[in-house]
Symmetry: C2
Subunit: 334 residues, 2 copies
């Protein structure tokens, strides 16, 4: 009998197939095809991107020159414009505002043939520091309500450039699903005076069945009501509402946790395309007791039919307990 | 400057690119590949599906024999099981229930090489009657709270069978996005004592810019804040809360409206894959003044990155005004 399970934060129910659960080999994956060709993100091609916003150059050097380990540039085809005011206005019963925001690219490595999973721990940590630096800078802009950081890895996951990178979008609104998560957490806190994610962490550590990796500072789990097969969350074990508020030591732990889970996923699922999203508190409530920042990682194994995002109704062929067991048992290659 | 637009029902904001708007030719579409081979949905192969639940045989004939125009069978690989009770229960702080529900396939034509857009009007009407008959029957089952009808057309949209068909899933819960829409409409009604969809219809008919087709009984529009390029809604012009409550004449009008928009989409966008979802009221509130049933149609033109359904944040490269103009001006081939 399949199970209907409820995500305790958002209230979303999903169907988990438990009878004919899909194992890693049952998925027909779209391969990541590397096309090669000229790449503006490669070291030596700095003049082919917009002027850099931030770069780490361990041995110094001038802006827009080689020698960097991580480099942040404006997106050449931005979804939003950085200049101007919001000009909020109505249009009969509709509402709109100018598409003001920032859209940046975090180039994670100067080397075209390396990806996040194969970077040394310290370099992954640098990427996380770049995320933090950019969030802290953009929070100063009073127009912005949310800074969204995400990574599309591989064409099937929506990446248009193959050189390893993440993206940042600063928005004058809080995206609706983030709002739901934050509000859901707030309701729970109102009832119990406890963070729901902290409660989940305690329960998951105790039950063990959905735990993939457990370090001093981070817990990597298959969530109880995942929308997608092998969906994975990385949660800081100590309560922290915003990604950018974390202490230095935490980024070191996160770099290790992230490399660890990417290694397991690559091993168990044959290096699939994936999407990674940092879920963090909105700018105007970045320090709070109810919301707990975390990373959500979704390997791209299934085709999501349009009706799923029209109805919020997800059908997951792999129980999280089985996904966790597979990932727990996979050997990390690097 | 791009625009941020708010969907007035759900409160979801989307980004609409207005600068470099994508025209139909700008999309790299995944082609619908027809593979052929044995098809259990074809006439003459009735014994290769589970026993039929419903079929229309204009000239009579016995169940599970040829001679039908529309045939409804249980899904051979159902997402939910029809037997048993819900057994709602907790698991620490989590909630679950048995995956009880119905999962049916509506085979829209006995002919493998015909699709919904190329069926005669009367046959499309039959398909709509089959939807209605199945909803009315399943509503008698007290375990079900929502009957979801959708169609995935073409592999890129998630269809696993190429023979033209729709699907029905009866659920013991109301899907979260449906709940949001219904609740959003209820809030608006509470404030204004008017249905928000009725207000939208009035405004769209007056402004004309997003209207694609306008008949006596149905309005076909590009919604104000669409998530996807060429997203299209078909709305009954008279208030009606549930699909299955409509009068007979309405199904005739809907068949024409549906064929009309599919013809325009096929012409303008080179017969893309698409998803179609009937949005209707939940079973327990199927007659009400606040919610207005409608069809949402989403041609599959872009790759949706995973972060979009994690954050509810959509980037649409085609303004609905341009999409409407393209579809309005396209010549219907059949």
């Amino acid at each position: 009998m399949p199970e209907l399970r409820k995500d305790p934060i958002t209230g979303r129910w999903v169907i988990i197939s438990t009878d004919r659960a899909k194992r890693p080999d049952d998925f027909l994956r779209e391969r990541i095809v590397r096309k090669g060709g000229f790449c503006p993100f490669c070291t030596g091609h700095e003049e082919r991107t917009p002027h850099e916003i931030l770069a780490y150059r361990p041995n110094g050097g001038s802006a827009n020159s080689p020698g960097w380990t991580v480099r942040v540039v404006p997106n050449k085809f931005p979804a939003l414009g950085i200049e101007g005011d919001l000009a909020r206005r109505g249009d009969g019963l509709f509402d709109k505002m100018n598409g003001v925001g920032a859209h940046e690219v975090i180039i994670e490595t100067p080397d075209h043939d390396v990806d996040l999973a194969s970077l040394p721990d310290k370099r992954v940590e640098d990427v996380l520091w770049a995320f933090r630096d950019r969030i802290l800078d953009l929070k100063k802009d009073k127009r912005f309500r949310y800074v969204l950081i995400f990574k599309n890895h591989g064409g099937p996951a929506g990446a248009s450039m193959e050189h390893s990178h993440s993206q940042l979008i600063a928005l004058p609104i809080v995206p609706i699903r983030v709002r739901e998560e934050v509000d859901g957490s707030k309701v729970y806190y109102g009832q119990k005076e406890r963070c729901i994610y902290c409660d989940i962490i305690r329960q998951e550590v105790q039950s063990e069945v959905r735990v993939i990796a457990d370090s001093d500072s981070f817990l990597t789990v298959a969530p109880y009501a995942p929308r997608f097969p092998f969906e994975t969350w990385i949660l800081p074990k100590q309560h922290e509402s915003a990604f950018e508020n974390s202490s230095s030591a935490l980024y070191e732990g996160l770099a290790r946790a992230l490399k660890n889970i990417l290694g397991r996923i690559n091993q168990a699922l044959e290096s699939p395309a994936y999407n990674l999203v940092i879920h963090t508190s909105p700018v105007m409530e970045s320090t709070n007791d109810y919301y707990h920042w975390h990373i959500e990682l979704m390997p791209k194994l299934t085709k999501v039919a349009g009706f799923e995002w029209g109805t919020g109704f997800y059908l997951n062929p792999t129980p999280p307990e089985e996904a966790a067991a597979v990932l727990r048992d996979s050997i990390i290659s690097s």
